[in-house]
Assembly symmetry: C2
Homo-oligomer: 444 residues x 2
């Protein structure tokens, strides 16, 4: 539903208990939260009352789904002015979420120069350095001296978001160095920028590099911004540390959610039907995998009829091995996020998890053996239970640690559905160990 027609602008209107003037005085990040709490009609009313700059800054801070809904309900002239006012990286993120028609309609209303820039930015994959970079950078000629540089920055800094570094390029636009405001303040009088960066170990990133790798580099080297270049080493833009924080947050959500088959980009604000749609395929996969575990049990139905107590013990084995495996899985996935992948170290980590699984398995299996002996009074049954549990826990540790590595080696996301694969293994093999051993030892 469009609410464009139903708007009457009015002063002193209250939004969520705040007047428009109070809302306007909020930090854009806070204003964004307030706006998200309003219904769509009030959102539109409020945005219409804001100075265009404040509107653009607040909308840039909003959640993607809310952003899309709001922009779709504004009249196109205002929406285009807001897009034009945003920093190019925020505008690109916003345009990326819109339907193609609306995206084109808004772009056609943006001044030609900005339009060309936004169109270029939209060609980059949003998950790469090019897709998250900011193009508002201060570029200096390397033959300037520090004082000249400072006065040029002074002229440019007002409308650039990225203030801390300036970038030096040669005659062919190739990046030759980075100077920070700190460097300029410290520079000896008259020294040229070229001399200042002579021994610099310049860290750059190609535009097609995955944004998670970009985040990793910025975190690893404690940078405030990282320049993005093309294959000819020409400067395209920079990724700044505040964007990296968002990337790291997103990445952590993706991993935790993908692990169990929830949508990588789901939040509690996503439309609920969207969540149904993204989770359902994994739930269907899970039920098919469960059927495989059930089939293992089916093979031993005769044993269970003879000894129903086996059905009592089954969930203990499966659950315990599943938990053991998930511990290994969680530690491995986090490690793969935080450090560069190193195959040798990764497999050493699997070995480490095997040791942990072995010792914990032996301890828990012994406890369960004792408990089963006391409760049932049957030493053979207790032995079968302890042995099946210990073996399945060891297997769980191995599977939990190696599944993300195998997924990675197969070129997949190491987290995706890993918990589903894991429990399939620990369930089916746990039942096989328990029911198979019972068949061999107890029922012959």
């Amino acid at each position: 539903m469009s609410v464009k027609e139903s708007i009457t602008t009015q002063q002193d209107e209250e939004f969520d208990g705040l007047t428009a003037a109070e809302l306007e005085a909020q930090h854009p990040a806070d204003a964004a939260e307030t706006i998200e709490g309003l219904d769509i009609i009030d959102q539109v009313k409020f945005i219409k009352q804001l100075p265009i700059k404040d509107a653009a800054e607040s909308i840039a801070e909003m959640d993607e789904h809310d952003q899309k809904a709001l922009i779709s309900n504004l009249n196109r002239g205002l929406a285009a002015r807001i897009v034009d006012e945003m920093s190019p990286d925020d505008a690109t993120d916003l345009l990326d979420t819109l339907d193609d028609d609306l995206q084109k309609a808004l772009l056609s209303r943006v001044p030609a120069e900005e339009r060309a820039e936004l169109k270029t930015l939209l060609t980059f994959d949003p998950d790469t350095a090019g897709g998250v970079m900011n193009t508002e950078v201060v570029i200096l000629d390397q033959d300037l001296n520090a004082d000249q540089a400072v006065s040029q920055i002074r002229q440019e800094v007002e409308d650039k978001e990225v203030p801390y570094y300036a970038y030096l390029t040669d005659k062919k636009d190739r990046l030759v160095g980075v100077v920070s405001l700190r460097d300029l303040l410290l520079a000896r009088r008259g020294v040229t920028l070229k001399d200042l960066v002579k021994t610099q170990n310049l860290i750059t990133v190609g535009y097609n590099i995955d944004k998670e790798e970009v985040a990793h580099l910025i975190a690893h080297y404690n940078l405030l911004a990282l320049p993005v270049v093309d294959f000819g080493n020409r400067l395209l833009g920079v990724v700044t540390v505040d964007d990296v924080i968002d990337i790291i947050h997103e990445e952590a959500s993706e991993d935790m959610q993908a692990m169990v088959g929830a949508g990588a980009d789901e939040t509690t604000d996503s439309p609920w039907l969207y969540s149904v749609r993204v989770r359902l395929p994994w739930l269907i996969m899970n039920v098919i995998f469960s059927a495989m575990s059930a089939w293992v049990v089916h093979l031993f139905e005769g044993n269970i009829t003879e000894m129903a107590v086996l059905a009592v013990l089954m969930p203990v084995v499966a659950n315990q091995a599943g938990n053991t495996g998930q511990q290994a899985l969680a530690v491995m996935i986090r490690q793969m996020v935080m450090e560069r992948f190193d195959r040798k170290r990764a497999w050493l980590a699997v070995l480490r998890e095997l040791r942990i699984g072995l010792l914990n398995g032996v301890i828990i299996a012994s406890l369960v053996f004792c408990a089963a002996l006391i409760v049932t009074g049957k030493p053979l049954l207790a032995t079968v239970m302890g042995a099946a549990l210990g073996m399945d826990m060891l297997l769980g540790a191995f599977a939990g640690a190696s599944i993300p590595l195998l997924l990675k080696e197969l070129g997949r996301d190491p987290a995706q559905a890993s918990s589903i694969f894991l429990t399939t293994i620990t369930d089916s093999m746990g039942f096989l160990f328990l029911l198979g051993l019972a068949g061999l030892v107890l029922l012959n």
Copy 2:
């Protein structure tokens, strides 16, 4: 084992394929990784060859466990000089990991002024703003003008790590404002700092605020640094954005690992016995909880003897509801990390998960009903299976969404062992639904 005695210093020695000179030329973050790959004897040799400043910077970037091992194996004079050379926040982090004796020994060798500062810093809880703040800040008198400020910063900036903001205090050391180098570059000639910050909305944080809340504020307001104050609003230090990235990474690991009962601070580099120790209590809790689910099955042993196929279906119900609940759990936990807690919104999110669980439950239950009907040819059995599965999935969605909220309301970590609580509920109630319904419908 101490290796202090076995060291002979030698030039051109090779470490992990690199010469000492090459290693020295690496960025400290890279040198730290190389050092971590060496055995302890080579680590000590290498550190002895480095200029003290490089040694301090590299060690500051190392993993906590490796840091501790290396420092314990250096002679105390060198270790103390390294501590003295580090920035105070890094030195405090390092000292915090050491045994009390070694900590005291090193502190006694640090010059008196630094010692006093480090001792003060060590009194802050490492998980609070005070525990992660940096004390090397540029403080300016608010009556300076911009040019005077720039020349004072120029004098101080060389030995301060935090270069982008300078802080203004009044005569009683109370914080009155923050100016960025950008503000100073833009300031009109002759304007005083006091005028510059007159309308500023100063964001500060108390020293006892949890570091995760600090990270949240810096991310929310896109800051590069956040000033830390005491109850009298006196400036104690600043938390910088690069520390925040580490906090966000740690926090994500903590949540993902705590959820399944792995140690919050475990990495693949932690000693394996440490991991055994931190995981074991949760595994024991899990096995006790599993025994409760097993007890539910035990109540229905008679039914299982009559119909062993129930034991075949049990794992499907439990596993599927567990997976459904984990999807809800993952989304809720991430949301609680990334946004300020809002009780009303949180419970609305539970409602959202209930809807998702209901629709997914109905779809999966229908599929399973059809499959069970086809495979077994028994409509009643298929109905029981479908109904139990659907009910348990709905319960799983509710439990997964509400467990972190309940833990939070109880003042606990919302993630801690949440997955263990969840599967206990989905397992035991799933068995109750399936076996109980079967008893009512199929076996009378």
